[in-house]
Amino acid sequence: MAEAVYTGTIDREATRANTRYIISRVVIYGLLAIFSLVYIIPLFVVVFNSFRTLPEISQNGLIAFPQSFRLDAWPDAWSTFCIGGNCEGMQKYFWNSVKMVIPATIISTLLGAMNGYILSKWKFPGSEIIFTCMLLGVFMPGQIALLPWAFILGKIGLANSVYGLILVHCIQGISFTTLFCRNYYVSIPDDLVKAARIDGAGFWRIFYKIILPLSPPILIVTVIWQFTGIWNEYLYGVVLNSGTNQPITAALVALSTNGTNVRVYDVMSAAVLIGALPPLLVYFFGGKYFVRGLTQGAIK
């Protein structure tokens, strides 16, 4: 009898705890769902509009479920729409951005890894000062460097060229890539480098054989950071380059402010999605490493 009473109390307690647990979960997941909707709805709007006809958009408004489905806006945006008097669509600007982002990402990441390796494993008198100076670049707004860059690119004959933008983004990116890599490499024990030095390995061999094989987490972070940063960058692209040499971000803005009175929402939506696709894909494939790598670097 006593036993039965005893189990009863336990059960009541357990039920109460269980109810509390369920309520708290419902609240948490409900809030999460609301926030994810807030973030995802604009994307849906743009995706829908890229498949709707222009008359339908003007009739039903920007935010509405598609009544029709048509792909015309996509090839239009890609290859025939007129942007700033050039009727080849986004493709030229898309490839400009690709040609800019790939070399700039690779070069700035490798330079960052190299800098980080030197600043963490081959410290020399004054290396901390150099690191501090490089860090300033992280906090410096891009606008400050705008005029100097215009001046330098003009001097070395890279004005209004994709190569000029590559150079700009490599240099501008070094602060971040160095910071990431240096902080990651600090957590690699110095004894590894010492052991390798005694083993007869030099500066480069230690880098290739020991440091780089340990680097994938931080290199993925750096590549994603640089790729999305450079791809989405607008200011340098629009100021330093003009006409068909601009990257896709500048072209998108040009497209939305073109001369005609008609707002071509369908083509704009398709163009925006074309422009957003590469960073989305990079994030999609490397996202989980991105979060993991960032926190790893942040511990030390």
């Binding site: 024990p189 004894d191 590894l192 010492k194 052991a195 390798a196 030095r197 005694i198 083993d199 007869g200 390995a201 030099g202 061999r205 054989k209 020991i210 094989p213 340990l214």
Partner: protein
């Protein structure tokens, strides 16, 4: 021939002098232990021998070659690190190959060297594993294997056992001793563990505050420590130090110390008395194992003194007892069968032939 000669080595970190003129020499095949408390400069000295740390002044010779300006890889040394420093992305085999590849050793030679060392250390089964898949003891073996595949003039060990648990540490200590016996390479071994130094080394350099306090064979260091630091650092529990005064007792030189019933006379041996050289105040040093119960296992040159027992600590094989002598505590090491009990006042016998006398001012052995 000496494999390693160190002459008047100094090292400054900024204004701090961490090594103040070190002189050492290791004969070929010798096992030298550098022992001392943390911060004594022993690891810095080892790093300087390896070439990982610059030399402020002085000279280091490996073999007959002055290596002050020689890069670590060209010094013909191999080193085992406290953290093992195994390359985490490489397998055990690749870890061992790395040094030979860097030096361009032919492939078949690499193979036979790895086979030889893997057999020696019994790590054949681990060759394809990554360091992350090894236990502490296995990592330790691999770290030694990596050093052994090369045939260097000099082995350097930097506290290689301090990351292992107590039991494994004792096992590996024996292994290292066997290994050194078999390989016969000159070795410099840094440790803060005086037992490791005593058991392994053919000669020990006891370091303190950037200076070598004493450099000699283990038994000499134990029996006649050069000063009170060495006497206190080597041996566990450490030597008892009792301040005393030199007096003449019926024509015999003796040391008078504070006992439980007032001043007690401890007659000195003739050889101690001869070395006194007019000292009036001394520090009387006696190791716990030379403190016994009076009348048990009696030898010559025993001085007796009465002392109350404050704490008794049995360890199984022997029992330590802490006793009070004036305002001083002394430790004695007893056979459990005859160990005193707490609270009892017993008559102790000091084995005077093993006693040490120190100068209170210079703290050096008289």
């Amino acid at each position: 021939m000496a494999s390693l000669t160190i002459r008047n080595i100094r090292k400054n970190f900024g204004a701090v002098e961490v090594l103040k003129g070190i002189d050492l020499e290791a004969r070929t095949g010798e096992f030298i232990a550098l022992v001392g408390p943390s911060g004594c400069g022993k690891s810095t000295l080892l790093a300087m021998i390896a070439g990982l740390e610059t030399i402020t002044s002085g000279e280091i010779y490996i073999g007959d070659r002055l290596v002050n300006a020689v890069a670590p890889k060209d010094r013909d040394i191999a080193m085992v690190f406290q953290s093992y420093a195994l390359y985490p992305t490489m397998t055990v085999r690749e870890n061992m190959e790395f040094g030979m590849q860097s030096r361009g050793v032919p492939k078949d030679e690499q193979k036979s060297a790895i086979a030889r060392v893997a057999a020696l250390l019994q790590i054949e089964a681990l060759l394809h594993r990554k360091p992350g898949q090894l236990s502490g003891g296995q990592r330790q073996r691999v770290a030694m294997g990596r050093a052994l595949v090369r045939d260097p003039l000099l082995f350097l060990f930097d506290e290689p056992l301090s990351n292992l648990d107590a039991k494994l540490r004792v096992d590996m200590r024996t292994e290292i001793k066997k290994l050194h016996h078999r390989v016969g390479k000159t070795t410099v071994y840094v440790t803060h563990d005086q037992i490791e130094a005593m058991t392994l080394a053919s000669r020990i350099a006891v370091m303190h505050q950037g200076e070598v306090q004493q450099f000699d064979e283990p038994q000499v260091i134990y029996d006649s420590p050069a000063n009170m630091f060495v006497a206190g650092f080597m041996g566990s529990p450490s030597m008892n130090f009792i301040p005393g005064e030199i007096v003449s007792d019926n024509g015999r030189t003796a040391v008078q110390v504070k006992g439980v019933d007032g001043p007690t006379i401890l007659p000195l041996t003739a050889s101690h008395a001869a070395r006194l050289n007019g000292s009036k105040q001394v520090i009387f040093g006696i190791r716990p194992e030379h403190v016994s119960r009076s009348g048990i296992g009696q030898k010559a040159d025993i001085a007796t003194i009465r002392a109350p027992v404050e704490v008794v600590e049995p360890t199984g094989a022997e029992t330590m007892a802490v006793m009070r002598l004036g305002d001083q505590e002394i430790t004695g090491r007893f056979d459990p069968d005859v160990a005193p009990v707490m609270g009892e006042t017993i008559t102790l016998g000091f084995d005077m032939s093993h006693a040490c006398l120190f100068d209170p001012a210079s703290r050096r052995l008289i």
